[in-house]
């Protein structure tokens, strides 16, 4: 299974539920396109729920980093929710874990955008 994205609106926060694999090819390009579209539509508060992400490679990590930079540069905020052990491990090894604002609880994450 490649990646599947589902958007929800919780107040003024756009939550994207991500499921599947974020790897070079279809997975990372789908995520990139979705985030670019949200930026184009001027969404400023984006919460990426990675609970159902089964696999991410360095290309997927690169997409997260690029999205974070793009959204931040446009005055928005990208935060991460419910990292799997694998994703957390990768972000820690690459020293990106402290760059991202990471949350375990959705309600808490949504409130943190206020």
């Amino acid at each position: 299974m490649s990646v599947k994205l589902t958007n929800r609106q919780v107040g003024d926060v756009t939550v994207i539920d991500v499921a599947g694999r974020i790897t070079l090819g279809e997975g990372s390009s789908t995520l990139r396109d979705a985030l670019r579209e949200l930026v184009k539509q001027d969404h400023k508060k984006i919460l990426l729920n990675l609970k159902e992400v089964t696999y991410i490679d360095s290309s997927g990590i690169g997409e997260l980093v690029s999205a974070y930079t793009t959204i931040t540069n446009q005055g928005g905020h990208l935060k991460l929710l419910s990292l799997t052990h694998r994703v957390k491990d990768l972000l820690q090894i690459t020293k990106l874990y402290t760059v991202f604002d990471v949350h375990e609880d959705e309600a808490h994450a949504v409130r943190s955008f206020a």
Binding site: T23, L24, S58, I61, G62, S66, Y68, I93, T94, V99
Partner: protein, 147 residues
């Protein structure tokens, strides 16, 4: 999995096209063989990801998806170690020239983490230039004997 299987030595050699499908295939083949060595689930994850990253480098950066160029995958399993060799036909690179992806200025770069992750996940990584062209990367994971 029986202990007898883990004590056998085994090799697998494949010639693969320069496609992303080959990346998936190499990962599957490597994990099948690594599983027989009795690695933990976490080690299998890390071996699989290292193979994926190495194959992506070979297909994308080495052979640049060129249909005329192949990637050679060689796997070797002994009771002591699991060895992966991935060779492309590209122009090659010097691992010493690669920027450190966790250094301040590089931290937020889009790419450049593949070799770093392979080094973090495997016990040894060697890069060898091939003549007349190409690069062979050797990845080694030691088998930890369960007592």
């Amino acid at each position: 999995m029986g202990d007898d299987l883990a004590e056998e030595s085994k090799t697998v050699d494949q010639v693969l096209d320069s496609t992303l499908e080959s990346v998936d295939k190499a990962e599957r083949v490597a994990l099948d063989l690594a599983h027989e060595s009795g690695f933990s689930d976490e080690d299998l994850d890390r071996i699989g990801m290292s193979v994926r990253e190495c194959m992506v480098n070979a297909v994308v950066h080495g052979n640049r998806y060129n249909a005329h160029k192949k990637v050679r995958l060689s796997l070797s399993r002994t009771p002591e170690r699991f060895t992966i060799r991935i060779a492309d036909e590209g122009e090659g690179f010097n691992p010493m020239d690669l920027p450190d992806p966790v250094a301040g200025d590089n931290l937020m770069r889009h790419s450049g983490r593949g070799i770093f992750l392979m080094r973090a996940f495997m016990d040894d990584l060697q890069v060898r230039h091939l003549e007349p062209a190409g690069t062979e990367v050797t990845l080694v994971k030691n088998v930890v004997v369960k007592k």
